[in-house]
């Protein structure tokens, strides 16, 4: 008797627990706006070595608030240029825009697009993994102690699976940041990208350097 009662209560308790769990999950899903969901970033960017070349005696290093802005801009770039295209199949130009200065914006829409962003890549069907080395920063400071240029050395490798097979995107090079009002934006770059894997129709490599700006006008 006792045994029977015990057996009959166990399934009932398990069913109750399962229902409670499902109810809790559903409640959370509906109660939390999608935009407020705390997602773990796929590409986690960190700052590595910092070097400063200065005409005068100051500053001793890059100010914290400037580092934070550079870090945010690099993260924005990596996510918009690589992660989003893998997630959705298209480049998120709107998300990329805040990280680019006028010159880089111009080139990102034209001659350097193939290097700056991962356009035309099949959408990922598996987990996206992005590994980056700590970003090395090099700053140039004027005689008044103002940091006027910062270069960020980026090395990242993104891997995922698509319906056709795996994809690896390796991007390496320098992003050149200059202040734009209260923010820092990419003004130039020396970048190389290599895309490989069976998930691609054909492997691609591209290298580009943009010393400063757009390239309107043409030769004869």
């Amino acid at each position: 008797m006792l045994d029977r009662v015990t057996r009959s209560r166990r399934p009932r308790a398990a069913a109750l627990a399962l229902c409670a769990l499902l109810a809790t999950s559903v409640a959370f899903a509906f109660a939390t706006p999608a935009s407020a969901k705390a997602k773990k970033p796929i590409a986690k960017i960190t700052i590595g070595d910092v070097t400063i070349y200065k005409v005068g005696n100051d500053p001793q290093t890059i100010p914290d608030e400037v580092r934070a802005k550079i870090l945010a801009a690099v993260s924005t770039y990596v996510n918009a240029a690589t992660v989003k295209p893998l997630q959705t199949g298209v480049v998120d130009d709107a998300a990329l825009a805040p990280a680019l200065g006028p010159a880089a914006t111009f080139r990102a829409a034209g001659v350097d697009r193939g290097t700056l962003v991962d356009e035309g890549i099949p959408k990922a069907t598996g987990r996206i993994v992005v590994n980056t080395l700590p970003v090395k920063l090099t700053a140039l400071a004027d005689a008044d102690g103002h940091v006027v240029v910062i270069t960020a050395h980026l090395e990242s490798i993104a891997r995922t699976r698509t319906e056709r097979g795996g994809i690896t995107i390796s991007r390496k090079g320098d992003l050149v940041f200059m202040p734009d009002g209260d923010t820092w934006k990419i003004d130039g770059y020396d970048l190389a990208v290599e895309r490989s894997g069976k998930g691609l129709v054909a492997p691609t490599t591209a290298t580009t350097a943009a010393p400063s700006t757009p390239t309107p006008g043409a030769a004869k």
């Binding site: 090099t138 240029v149 270069t151 320098d174 770059y189 006008g217």
Partner: protein, 301 residues
């Protein structure tokens, strides 16, 4: 630190490169310069009112690289090594027109004298009138600055194509490939007597070659974006500037590093006999100027 003083300290990698060669020229009158610590290697002026990097970053622009024979920073000297450089950022091309120092200026007299009397803006104005262009930037250096600069970058690799043996300039070069120190490159850039026929005209073209060689040497060191920042600061301690800030100098440096030396044309200005020892601008030079002024590049020469 005051703004003017700040500007004094600014530097240009790019210009440094280009000028590295350009400086060479001239200084025939000077003896054996001894570079001093903290010396000014070169002076940079923004002489144009339009078409500079910040306002029109992708547009072609022109700058003047000038070697002067001033013995001190206070002495502007004659502008004896005159090189007008056109840069087209859109195509990554550049062209140099080498102007012999004795060329007659539109304003009358030898063009090199305009630097002594009116500085960089004055000689740039004469070249603007001659070629129908607007020079945006001008850089100049003297013997000590030239030598120090070349030595600082570790010397310059250059090919000597003809025998150069001249006591006055100090050349002792059989044809071949050389890694030249500042002293040697200066001698190479000053030698005109090894060219009995062309003389100063060939010397001027050689100076243009020295500019390209300096750029090639720096590019071979592959400084990258971060290395260019270091180079900018190094040069900033040895430059006088007027109208340029450190950011613009860095951008110029980056731009210079982006130009493939193989895509730089180096052409001597066609000249003929002029009044006295002057050289007149040859009629065919107008075609050269037309080719130069539309996009800063010489396609047909």
């Amino acid at each position: 630190m005051s703004r003017p003083l700040v500007r004094l300290l600014l530097a240009i990698p790019v210009t440094g490169l280009l000028l590295a060669g350009s400086l060479a020229a001239a200084w025939l009158a000077i003896g054996s310069p001894q570079p001093a610590a903290g010396t000014t290697w070169f002076t940079v002026h923004k002489v144009g009112t339009e078409a500079h990097l910040t306002d029109a970053p992708g547009q072609p622009f022109y700058f003047l690289a000038l070697g002067n024979d001033g013995r001190t920073d206070a002495d502007p000297g004659l502008g004896d090594a005159i090189h007008v450089i056109g840069v087209n950022p859109a195509t990554g091309d550049a062209s140099i027109i080498d102007v012999p120092r004795d060329t007659e200026a539109p304003g009358g007299g030898k063009i090199n004298a305009f630097h002594a009397s009116g500085g960089l803006p004055s000689i740039a104005n004469q070249l603007n009138r001659m070629m129908g262009i607007t020079i945006s930037y001008a850089v100049t250096t003297n013997f000590p600055g030239f030598i120090s600069m070349v030595d600082e970058i570790g010397g310059v690799d250059i090919d000597v194509t003809e025998p150069m043996f001249d006591h006055d300039s100090g050349t002792e070069f059989a044809p071949g490939h050389y890694h030249m120190s500042g002293d040697s490159l200066l001698a190479f850039s000053r030698d005109r007597k090894s060219y009995p026929q062309e003389g100063d005209r060939q010397r001027t073209v050689n100076q243009g070659r020295a500019i390209i060689a300096a750029l090639a040497t720096l590019r071979a060191q592959n400084p990258g974006a971060a290395g260019t920042a270091k180079l900018t600061v190094t040069l900033a301690r040895h430059v006088r500037t007027d109208g340029l800030d450190l950011t613009q100098m860095y951008e110029l440096g980056r731009l210079a590093m982006a130009i493939d030396p193989a895509r730089i044309k180096n052409v001597g200005l066609p000249t003929g006999a002029g009044a006295g020892t002057n050289l007149s601008v040859a009629p065919q030079a107008q075609d050269l100027f037309n080719d130069f002024r539309d996009d800063a590049i010489l396609q047909n020469h």
